[in-house]
């Protein structure tokens, strides 16, 4: 079976379309998170989303919608708290992560154990995505990318220096709240793809790889999106042929690209010819 032949399967088409959409939003949002040194914020929000999913399953509501609501409220709440009582960013991550997980564990214990649905959210189930889910993911991804495209200069400036951005007349607080809502929606939208436990890899890996050689913010963002899409598409295809979990294959592909980039970069550095300045050559010829 060739790569083109697997595209004939409906589930593969849906997986690839939603995978590409999710890769684009994760890397776009992730670039700002990584540069703000909030890499683990995505991880924290995914654990809050886990609590939200548990609420949905416990109350017999559609779990993705309860995850959206719970994650957005928690993200806004912790941002407000961080602003007003100056909690360090790593502590806010710890609070979000543990409280989200705690809600999930309590509700699981009350409902008598893991359901299959919750398990698929933990580890991702991209091959089981329905047409309706695909449409929702694509629609939300387009909306998120459009808002980032409109705000990206302001977000870039705030990321560069919040104080200077504020002095320039930018409403930093409002921009930060909008960004945090976008990040929360991105995490919940992406959970279907790589699951709660691996989502932060999709947010962080393409960006730290792109930052290594991107010249300019826009170029870095484009490289990052390219790497994320390459990781997702290769990961899905590899998982199909090797019969392994797609989420793990996607993340491991991302790790492989990152490691290859570092190795290539170091090799290029070590074989780069040393520039010998003219005075040195002149001295050598006199010896």
């Amino acid at each position: 079976m060739t790569i083109l032949e697997i595209l004939e399967f409906g589930f593969m088409q849906r997986a690839l379309i939603s995978g590409i959409a999710v890769a684009a939003i994760c890397s776009a949002i992730g670039l700002f998170l990584v540069l703000r040194k909030h890499s683990l914020f995505g991880d924290a929000m995914s654990h809050v989303a886990f609590g939200g999913l548990s609420i949905g399953l416990f109350l017999n509501l559609y779990p993705i919608w309860t995850a959206y609501a719970f994650t957005i409220i928690a993200a806004l709440g912790i941002t407000k708290m961080t602003d007003s009582i100056k909690i360090p960013p790593d502590s806010s991550v710890a609070i979000l992560l543990s409280s989200g997980l705690a809600v999930g564990i309590v509700l699981i214990s009350l409902s008598g154990g893991f359901s299959l649905d919750l398990f698929s959210f933990l580890f991702g189930s991209i091959l089981l995505i329905s047409t309706q889910d695909t449409i929702t993911i694509v629609f939300l991804s387009i909306a998120i990318l459009a808002i980032i495209a409109i705000m990206y200069r302001r977000l870039m400036y705030i990321t560069f220096d919040e104080k200077q951005a504020s002095v320039s007349g930018i409403n930093v607080k409002l921009a930060n709240y909008i960004f945090i809502v976008l990040a929360a929606i991105t995490v919940v939208t992406s959970i279907r793809l790589v699951g709660v436990l691996l989502i932060s890899a999709l947010i962080v890996l393409p960006n730290i790889t792109a930052i290594l050689f991107g010249r300019g913010f826009k170029k870095t963002a484009i490289i990052s999106i390219g790497i994320a899409i390459a990781s997702v598409v290769s990961g899905i295809v590899i998982s199909y042929f090797a019969n392994i979990a797609p989420a793990g294959a996607i993340v491991l592909t991302g790790v492989a690209i990152f490691l290859c980039t570092i190795v290539t970069r170091n090799i290029r550095k070590s074989i780069r010819p040393i520039k010998i300045t003219e005075p040195y050559l002149h001295n050598r010829s006199q010896e």
Binding site: R153, T159, F160, G216, F217
Partner: protein, 269 residues
């Protein structure tokens, strides 16, 4: 749109006092005016309140006592409109070095917020003009961390002046930069003031540089010790003696405050 008349003083500060953490008096009853075209050097030791003063002028701090006016209007009532006429260069240390934006992108930040709407070609022209003034046209595709300390400061100056401000505020712009780069930097400041007609406030520890650059000097150390012509300040030996004495007192005062704060935070044993 705010109506700013050229006859109004650029900066007008009246009886300004500020308490850091609601307990530590950082600025005590400061008053002064700055006129169009002035290059005002603000000198004072570490902890004298220079950055606090700038934060009040820029409307970052709002819980002060007294009034702060820019171009004749109160900053807290017209912050956005007034700041569109101001360029600000913070202390060197507050900039994230690994940021992947190139120089052109960073300079264009200065147009955001200050100007409501602008075309891409206008932005490009303004950025190019700013790069030419600071002499960085050949570095436009470099990343910020690939430049030397002096070049980075020139990028921040270009960013601060890309929207054609009437006032430029520079907070210790040469800290951590070698002497040769400092000299070139001060030459740029002189050029901006004389040729581009930008009024400038510059805070610095470097009395020598301020004496050569500024036409007006404000010496603050929590209180205003002197405000007037630079030649009057630097020509008076007693002024300089008082400056160094009060610098030593500030050092002691800060040490006592920090010791007190630390002992309050530590649990008693």
């Amino acid at each position: 749109m705010l109506n700013i008349t050229s006859a109004s003083p650029i900066v007008e500060i009246d009886h300004l006092s500020y308490w850091y953490d609601s307990s530590f008096l950082t600025l005590d009853n400061i008053s002064f005016r700055m006129e169009q075209g002035d290059l005002l050097g603000i000198i004072g030791p570490n902890g004298a309140g220079k950055t606090t003063l700038f934060s009040c002028i820029l409307g970052i701090l709002t819980d002060y006592r007294g009034t702060v006016k820019l171009f004749g209007k109160e900053i807290l009532k017209n912050r956005k409109a007034l700041l569109s006429e101001v360029g600000y260069v913070p202390q060197h240390a507050s900039i994230e070095q690994s940021f992947p934006a190139n120089i052109e992108e960073i300079i264009s930040f200065g147009l955001l917020g200050s100007i409501e709407k602008y075309s891409r070609s206008y932005a490009k022209d303004q950025v190019l003009k700013a790069m030419q003034i600071v002499g960085l046209t050949d570095k436009k595709n470099k990343r910020f961390n690939e430049l030397s300390g002096g070049q980075q400061q020139r990028v921040l100056i270009a960013k601060a002046m890309v929207h054609n401000p009437r006032l430029l505020i520079l907070d210790e712009p040469t800290s951590g930069i070698d002497q040769e780069t400092q000299d070139r930097f001060y030459e740029l400041i002189r050029k901006l003031n004389a040729e581009e007609k930008i009024s400038i406030i510059l805070s610095s520890h470097d009395l020598d540089a301020v004496s050569k650059l500024a036409n007006k000097v404000a010496c603050i150390n929590r209180k205003m010790h002197f405000h007037g012509d630079a030649k009057d300040f630097f020509g008076d030996e007693n002024m300089l003696k008082t400056y160094y004495e009060s610098a030593m007192q500030t050092h002691l005062r800060l040490h006592q405050f920090n010791t007190k704060s630390n002992s309050q935070q530590l649990p008693s044993t």
